[in-house]
């Protein structure tokens, strides 16, 4: 079982390291799209999750609800990984 909190920590670290500028104070509750999360950021996030967890997030799951924040994203990805 994947723990959503661990996943949240991992995804936040990835986004801070590889997607958002170091000047941005991104937290687990930051509104991702408002912070500048664009198409290429989304692609890199999807590739990161695929590479580390073997899951390609289905297109139907790429919604404003899922991508509202790192917290909502981690919860949804954990649910998908845990077969829920």
């Amino acid at each position: 079982m994947v723990n959503p909190t661990d996943l949240e920590t991992q995804l936040l670290a990835f986004l801070k390291r590889e997607v958002f500028s170091a000047q941005l104070d991104v937290t687990a509750d930051t509104d991702l799209v408002a912070a500048g999360f664009d198409s290429l950021s989304l692609v890199r996030l999807l590739v990161f999750i695929e590479k580390n967890h073997g899951l390609w997030i289905p297109e139907s799951e790429i919604t404003p609800e899922t991508l509202q924040s790192v917290r909502t994203l981690a919860a949804r990805v954990a649910a998908l990984l845990n077969g829920q």
Binding site: E18, V19, V33, G36, F37, D38, S39, L40, S41, L42, V43, R44, L46, V47, K51, W56, P58, E59, S60, I62, T63, P64, L67
Partner: protein
Amino acid sequence: MNLTELLDAAALRFPTKAAVIDGATVVTYANLVARTHELANPTIRAGQRIGISLPNSADYIAATYAVWRAGAIAVPVPVECSAEERSHIITSLGLAGIITPTGFEKFSGVPVADNHNLNIAFIRFTSGTTNTSKGVVVTHETIRDRITAANKALAITAADTIVWILPMAHHFLVTIVLYLSQGATIVLVHSPLARNILEAVQRTGATILYAAPMHYAWLARDKSELSLATIRLAISTTCALTQDVAETFEKRYRLPLRQALGIIELGLVCLNTDGPWNSVGKPLPDYRVKIEDGDLYISGPGFYDAYANPWTPRQDEWFHTGDIAKLDEAGRVYLLSRKTAVINMAGRKVFPEEIEAVLLQHPAVQDCRVYGRAHPHLGELIEADVVPGQTGADPEQLRDHCRQHLAAYKVPTDIHLVPAVARTAVTGKLIRHG
């Protein structure tokens, strides 16, 4: 001529009409023209090359026209560039200044670039910073010819509203300039999410959607009740569609996806208006195509005028695209593969040589080869084989090294440590295929 004349003429006809809608902000044609005057820095001189480094916005458009109004040349410097990539564009093209979100920064001591008596409007690098990347030079007249030719197929009018998702630093001439010359309205959508795109279409009654296959993949699987009922043309560009996306999208919205072939050196040359999903369509009325030994060649108006660095004027009547293609009996073009090693990652073209040059700067790298690995949803991912030096190499450290020197999307997804990479015996050149 100057392309600002086309914007000014549209503003005279439609002063109060929306030129750009960005969220709750509506920029009318009169507002946009006024903004081009506000942004016209008095120190910018005719013939100077000026960088534009702004995110998608009405100001990106206004800044470009402000540069043109001064008789200067607009050079996109994508915001995602690393400091090194940005510096390369500035020095190799001899930029006299750059427009950024914080204003105009003038560079001193830059030698005046030779524009070879051409009325140049725009120079854009094909991609990257290696010698395989070329600064494509186009004049005001060339761009006018391109948009005239493109509009014979697109038929953009003032009645059109275009939902805009792609980066302006990579797509501007046969899109934004065309739309504004016709008095159309551009709706900026900053979110990549299908729901937000659909809401923008719904809110504005948009008629044209211009996006990459990944956007259409997300749109195709949207589960909301929102429709694309007002869209008359959904164009897919930047990389090949997949059958699944084309079919699912058409079924979901009862609207066929239309692939187009746009080439930085030529403009929009093919648009699929009536053919099977996997064709890029017939050449536009003013263009001709031919296939020789499997290679696609195109001839027509709006050809690039030169490559900038080193200055190489265009010579041939036929442009060799580097695509392997075939034609059907109706004359539609099908792209089969590319001859060059360029990697297409979700629509962004990346030269492997550029990433190899960065990897080879690292002391732990003895040799390397960068290549695209096919990915079912993204076209290709960037990967690298690295031959470590005697002290070994850490793939994550190498990715960090790439991140310091390259735009983030060019950092290889995976770096594999290997004992050797294949090179030809005689010249030592990398063997890229097979």
